[in-house]
Assembly symmetry: C2
Homo-oligomer: 125 residues x 2
């Protein structure tokens, strides 16, 4: 039993064993991405202080930035009243989005149009 099991046991994972995770810049509050963790990826995140998710498309642990170097240092961890959603505040190295934008939320809907408003800080994959 690790020192984190008591915390992890409090949380509610869905029928796939996953918990929704909102990722926010710890300094300016920008929402950078949305992903899923399972128990193992959350434990890895707590141990290493580097955000580690569960990739639903690849069905494996996903250390964010493992290939790109765009890692996320975890500074703070919150969870919601239902205990089924995490909010992590991180220091983002370069880009959170695989397209090279700093945030995955670079598309804004306004007055019937979609506008690209984000900051591109790296080449996309």
């Amino acid at each position: 039993m690790s020192q984190w099991d008591a915390f992890i046991d409090q949380l509610k994972f869905d029928d796939r064993g996953l918990i929704s995770t909102i990722v926010q810049d710890h300094e300016n509050g920008e929402v950078l991405m949305f992903a899923f963790m399972n128990r193992e990826s959350l434990k890895k995140t707590l141990e290493s202080k580097l955000a580690t998710y569960w990739s639903r498309s690849r069905q494996k642990l996903w250390l964010k930035g493992e290939s790109s170097g765009h890692t996320q240092e975890v500074k703070e961890i919150y969870f919601d009243c239902d205990k089924d959603c995490l909010l992590i505040k991180i220091k983002q190295n370069v880009a959170a989005c695989h397209t090279g934008f700093r945030s995955c939320f670079f598309s804004k809907y306004e007055n019937g149009e979609v506008k690209t408003i984000g900051e591109k800080v790296a080449d996309g994959e």
Copy 2:
């Protein structure tokens, strides 16, 4: 066909017909809650500019604040690179959380302990 159908058609709803929705204070960037929308609740949100979700527990449309008066005026709408997550920036009237806290993310995990760090601004339900 409504003026919003072209926008809504771009988004990816999951096999339950739902899209994850992150709710952020439009002024100070605080993440207030996490909920789900379906096509109909998103259309209602766009029409009324009041955040309307799909309640999974009650299996019905949920106009946030309908009974409590703690409504959310939608100021900006974003979506992510995968088009399967919305980020809405809102003006929160009183409390986002049914417990009376301003944000649902009032619990912080730190050094093996869970701390309540949020601001309670109303009586809980």
